[in-house]
Symmetry: C2
Subunit: 282 residues, 2 copies
């Protein structure tokens, strides 16, 4: 497996693969890889001739009071996982290899990025779309795999790809949970044992809400959200948001809504976790 630290190295490699007629699958990650990431690599492996995994804790998507500095890193473990799952190359740049000191260009999605995490983390998605556009231009993928755990990110990226005409298929991979139901996340390692146990309320509350929402439709969304907030607070979670939105527009659901994104962001201690269910209501 090749390991690239410099943007130009990755791009030369990718362009060479394309010239040789090979297809490329990209799996963009922030590292500290778990079984969720592994499932993305497996999907790319089935889909493309060449699989590139990027590992980059992107500073431009972290706010000033967020966990950029303490975000967990373990390159040796990540490397081993990528090899085990058959990646052809890992791109692991330092921030200075990704951003010039006078970098001044941003890619910004201005609608789907606004609610949910976008309302709480105002520069987050601008950082995500910018770095993903850069990774697309560097890795030249035919397809890129993103997890449904970051549902809003997936929607924003799909919109960017459509709006900017990237010739790339975005593949949405199922959310992967631990045996106890907690959505896998690199941030789970911040949790104490007690916080981890309390955080199980997220998947429990989401799972319980799905049949109710399916049955009663969008008019029941407000009541279901209120009940979830109560249940989560009772378990010791500090709710950042619990929302039920039209999955196409990320606006309030209406009669026309065919799928509802039920999304939560909740603090346990100082750790902010997100989880969601996509509910077909038509």
């Amino acid at each position: 497996m090749r390991i690239f630290k410099l943007a130009a190295e990755l791009q030369n490699y990718a362009l060479e693969q394309k010239r040789a007629g090979r297809t490329i699958g990209l799996v963009p990650t922030m590292g500290f890889l778990h079984a969720g990431h592994a499932s993305l690599i497996d999907i790319a492996r089935k889909k493309a001739d060449i699989v590139i995994v990027s590992i980059f804790v992107n500073p431009t998507q972290f706010g000033p009071n967020e966990d950029l500095d303490k975000y967990p890193r373990d390159f040796e473990h990540d490397k081993a996982l990528c090899i085990e799952h058959g990646a052809d190359a890992v791109f692991a740049p330092e921030p200075g290899a990704m951003y010039a000191p006078d970098a001044s260009t941003w890619v910004e999605e201005t609608v789907l990025s606004k609610p949910l995490c976008g309302a709480r983390r105002p520069i987050h998605f601008r950082g995500v779309t910018t770095v993903v556009a850069k990774l697309f231009n560097l890795a030249q993928p035919d397809c890129a795999v993103f997890g449904r755990k970051d549902a809003q990110q997936l929607f924003v990226i799909k919109r960017m790809v459509r709006d900017l005409n990237f010739p790339i298929e975005i593949i949405a991979a199922p959310l992967v949970r631990g045996e106890d139901g907690l959505a896998l996340s690199s941030r789970n390692r911040y949790l104490t044992e007690d916080e981890h146990r309390r955080a199980l309320v997220l998947s429990r509350a989401l799972r319980a809400a799905v049949p109710a929402l399916k049955r009663a439709g969008y008019t029941a969304a407000a009541d279901i959200v209120a009940a979830m907030k109560q249940e989560i607070a009772a378990a010791g979670g500090q709710v950042d948001y619990v929302e039920a939105l039209d999955a196409d527009t990320l606006a309030a659901p209406t009669e026309a809504t065919s799928a509802i994104l039920l999304a939560v962001a909740v603090y346990f201690g100082t750790t902010r976790l997100i989880d969601n269910e996509l509910v077909q209501v038509k």
Copy 2:
């Protein structure tokens, strides 16, 4: 020569050419082509296997009170010119083929786009960078040719390409003037005979300023600019701006400045013309 109206048609063609191992040169234009555009096509023709000319009066780079509706169009003439200069394909989409009704993604350069035309046309460069990023993803060029007449646009595009890692060489083509010195522009056709004659002051004032600026350096910039404003006003031009800026930063020139962009935007009647000289001062 192929003519494409749909984004997907162009992209399929471009990807097919790339798979066949051919290089692509892109010449983005707003049509109503003149000898300046022809020189860009000639450069692309020498540089790449396949030359694609885009002809698109991009609505997102026009402000609400600008000349979008009356911008001159002549597709038959443009087509003939492209054939004559050996283009392989023309991409001439309708606005609806370029922008979805709910398009919500912008590419924005936030430093070099701010002074000069950016200060007078606040959404202009955001529209330019967005449409050029889209054209890059559709036409998949190895190189793209832009004229030095739109000096600030050239700088902004170069910065975007660097910041977003597009694998594209940006080629700067010399400004082309008519025999009387007026910089060629599709907008020149708006000018009355009298306005055209008055507008010759632009190239005259710029040409006269070059040796003075070269000799005296950046400390003389303010005096030179003031003299140019006076000369242009005396000839009946209404100055939008005359500025001398560091060509690397588009900020005020300093001791460290190695090249100065001397740029003017001036109304003659209701027609706004731009012109510039790039002056090496070191």
